[in-house]
């Protein structure tokens, strides 16, 4: 990991929604990570785990009413550092689009249907780069060309419904990179697209990161995308990071049962014929509050009474060889130790029995 200050340091970010009558929902419950320029960081998890809310909170796009945002997100700006969560809306409006940009999931619904593509690109150039007249139209065409839209001058006058899904996402990316932002957030940018188009869009994002040195926060539930693109990965569950690691250790040696479950549920070509997939049981709704214990416990095959004794802390993963953890941390009291899998059954029962004794007493 780089020793310099990260571009964006998110610390204990929490988002609580207050709904009239039905109490509060903790959508994000203490997430910390940092973004470095030129690197891609992944936020991975099922729908409802808080990854999109995290990105909206960073952009300051959550509704003003009924939402409480806690923690800090310090970003290095040209004029010094600032906590994104505490900036005024006016300041945020200046930063959005110029310093940080976002690409959304559904390109069709994310584009205004009654405004030509051209105007949707030029309005951001006019706003942040103060461009006017012919120049702005030329720059917009250049941008579309750069993101791989053929015949860009003609496209400027077309409406979103006249473009294909891939082209729409390219147009959205063109808008995002228009002012060369230093931070880019992509929220499931390929989910709504065909598989072949997905690969092209990911390639485009990767190139932009390499060329411009942008920091990219990639939000996805697709581990394939993560494996191909991300340098660092945060696995989120029920609003908290449960495992954080660079790409290689995470895929080679996942320790949190949830990560293992996610990896186990991807089909692999090199798996033996006839081997069945192992899905993660239940759905993201079947969890408990973190204050009561590990939220994943109800769906976990390895949970013990210990898992229900308050929130498990985030700890470094101990390596068998005693070496550096390489930034690999997890939030589990009962992690999967691949070396010791065989011993698990033996270790498991006594622990449970002990807890049981305490409960009775």
């Amino acid at each position: 990991m780089s020793s310099s200050t990260p571009l964006l340091a998110v610390d204990e970010l929490s988002v609580v929604f207050h709904r009239r009558g039905s109490g509060e929902t903790r959508a994000v419950d203490g997430v910390s990570f940092s973004l470095e320029e030129g690197r891609v960081t992944g936020l991975v998890g099922e729908s409802g785990c808080g990854k999109s809310v995290t990105s909206l909170a960073l952009m300051g796009l959550l509704p003003d009413r009924g939402v409480k945002v806690g923690g800090s997100a310090v970003m290095q700006l040209p004029d010094g550092e600032a906590d994104l969560l505490r900036l005024s809306q006016r300041r945020l409006r200046d930063l959005r689009g110029s310093q940080m940009a976002m690409i959304f999931q559904d390109p069709l619904s994310s584009l205004n249907p009654v405004v030509p593509i051209g105007m949707q690109v030029t309005e951001i150039l006019k706003r942040h780069r103060g461009m006017r007249g012919v120049a702005v139209r030329k720059e917009a065409a250049d941008l579309l060309y750069r993101v791989g839209i053929p015949d860009p001058t003609r496209r400027l006058d077309e409406y979103p419904h006249q473009l294909s899904g891939g082209m729409r996402q390219r147009a959205l990316i063109a808008m995002a990179v228009a002012c060369k932002p230093r931070l880019m957030i992509a929220d499931e940018p390929t989910t709504a697209l065909d598989v072949t188009i997905q690969a092209q869009i990911l390639e485009l994002l990767k190139d932009l990161v390499t060329e411009e040195g942008t920091a990219l926060l990639m939000i996805t539930h697709d581990l394939g995308v993560v494996a191909g693109l991300c340098d660092d990965i945060n696995v989120l569950y029920a609003g908290r990071a449960v495992e954080t690691a660079p790409r290689e250790p995470l895929f080679a040696d996942p320790t949190h049962p949830y990560t293992v479950g996610l990896l186990g549920s991807i089909p692999r070509l090199d798996a033996p014929r006839g081997e069945s997939l192992t899905p993660v049981r239940g759905s993201a709704n079947d969890n408990i509050a973190w204050v009561d214990g590990c939220a994943f416990a109800p769906r976990c095959d390895h949970y013990t009474m210990e898992c229900l004794q308050g929130p498990p802390p985030l700890v470094s993963v101990e390596k068998g060889d005693g070496g550096d953890d390489g930034g690999h941390v997890h939030r589990c009291v009962n992690p999967i130790d691949h070396a010791a899998v065989a011993d698990r059954a033996v270790l498991d029962s006594p622990t449970v029995a002990d807890e049981d004794e305490e409960e009775r007493g």
Binding site: M59, L61, L92, R93, D94, L95, R96, G97, S98, A101, M102, F104, D106, S109, S110, L111, N112, P113, V114, V115, M119, E123, I124, R127, H128, Y159, H161, Q162, L172, M175
Partner: protein
């Protein structure tokens, strides 16, 4: 665009055709048949038989229907029993008054309803929102003729702020060019006439505007609320655009689309409302005329009125569709 209009016009044929059948059957089914409507109650059976023959009522139904269609196509809607003049002439005579009233009502509804609905949506849950929603519900639930009476009794007869009847004060001289009082007044620069005509339009216009105003306010509010949640508004905010740009270009432009359709659909009920309002203010338009026709069972006027409204409705909605397709590129493409 031309093909679009032609296709929409072709789609009108079955609707208007069906309506003509409905009207024809209705005329046949009138108590005692059409001849009762045309003759005094004490007419002898011989007179009736003669009339039946002269009207072609002894012909087969199909022949009668075709004759009925031919008459309509020639603009012959029959003769009013009240005035013994052709129904169409009576309508033409009174059309400018009703048109002015209708335009006044729609203008009041749009000018107040759009901003009110928009502000209510922006300030959702505030007192303003509550008042706008409550007020429009109250507007929908108040019988139009009662509202007209109240306005007349309070503001015309009580306060004396506005005239209580007619289109113009008696004794006012004006130059008649088109029959549209306000338009003529503006053209001839007779500003006293314009002012007087507007004063006469105010109360009936307000009464007639009550339902369109309520509908437009609620519609705008609902539409703006929906659009504010759209992904593209979030995109616009994520681009850091100024609030005003987001609100006008991205929110309002989309939110107004359904409102345009609603305004078109309201024109039909505006005519029905005119019958109720004009009669209260003795406003000399089609509405007052039809009001008396319902009291007097003046069937040719009633059928003529129904045909008129249906035709107007159909064409106004064609206009709405065309303007909609100009506003929404997605429709244009289809």
């Amino acid at each position: 665009m031309l093909r679009f209009i032609v296709r929409r016009l072709l789609q009108l044929i079955p609707t208007l055709g069906g309506l003509s059948i409905l009207l024809f059957v209705w005329l046949q089914r009138l108590p005692g048949g059409p001849e009762y409507a045309l003759l005094p109650d004490d007419a002898t059976p011989e007179q009736r038989a003669m009339l039946r023959r002269s009207l072609g009522l002894d012909e087969p139904l199909m022949v009668q229907y075709l004759a009925f269609l031919r008459r309509i196509a020639q603009g012959d809607l029959g003769t009013s029993l009240q005035t013994s003049r052709p129904v169409l002439d009576e309508f033409f005579l009174r059309f400018p008054a009703t048109f002015e009233l209708g335009v006044t009502a729609i203008l009041i509804a749009v000018i107040i309803g759009l901003p009110l609905g928009y502000l209510a949506a922006r300030r959702r849950g505030t007192i303003l929102d509550f008042a706008a929603v409550g007020g429009s519900l109250l507007g929908i639930c108040t019988p139009v003729f009662f509202l007209a009476f109240i306005l007349k009794v309070v503001f015309a007869e009580g306060m004396g702020w506005f005239p209580s009847a007619f289109r113009l004060s008696p004794g006012l001289t004006r130059t008649d060019i088109t029959g549209f009082v306000v338009l003529d007044g503006v053209m001839t620069r007779e500003w006293d006439v314009v002012w007087d005509a507007l004063a006469h339009l105010a109360l009936p216009g307000l009464a007639l505007a009550s339902i369109p105003l309520a509908v437009i306010t609620r519609m705008t509010r609902a539409s703006v609320l929906e659009v504010m949640e759209e992904d593209y508004v979030r995109t616009a905010n994520a681009k850091g655009l100024h609030r005003t740009t987001v609100r006008t270009r991205h929110v309002l432009r989309n939110a107004l689309l359904p409102v345009v359709t609603a305004v078109g659909l309201l024109t039909g009920s505006l005519f029905a409302g005119a019958v109720l309002t004009e009669s209260v203010f003795a406003f000399p338009g089609i509405g007052s005329f039809v009001y008396i026709a319902t009291q007097e069972r003046d069937y040719p006027v009633l059928t003529g009125f129904i045909l008129l409204i249906a035709t107007m409705y159909v064409f106004i909605n064609l206009l709405v569709d065309i303007s909609y397709s100009l506003l929404d590129p997605r429709v244009r493409a289809q």
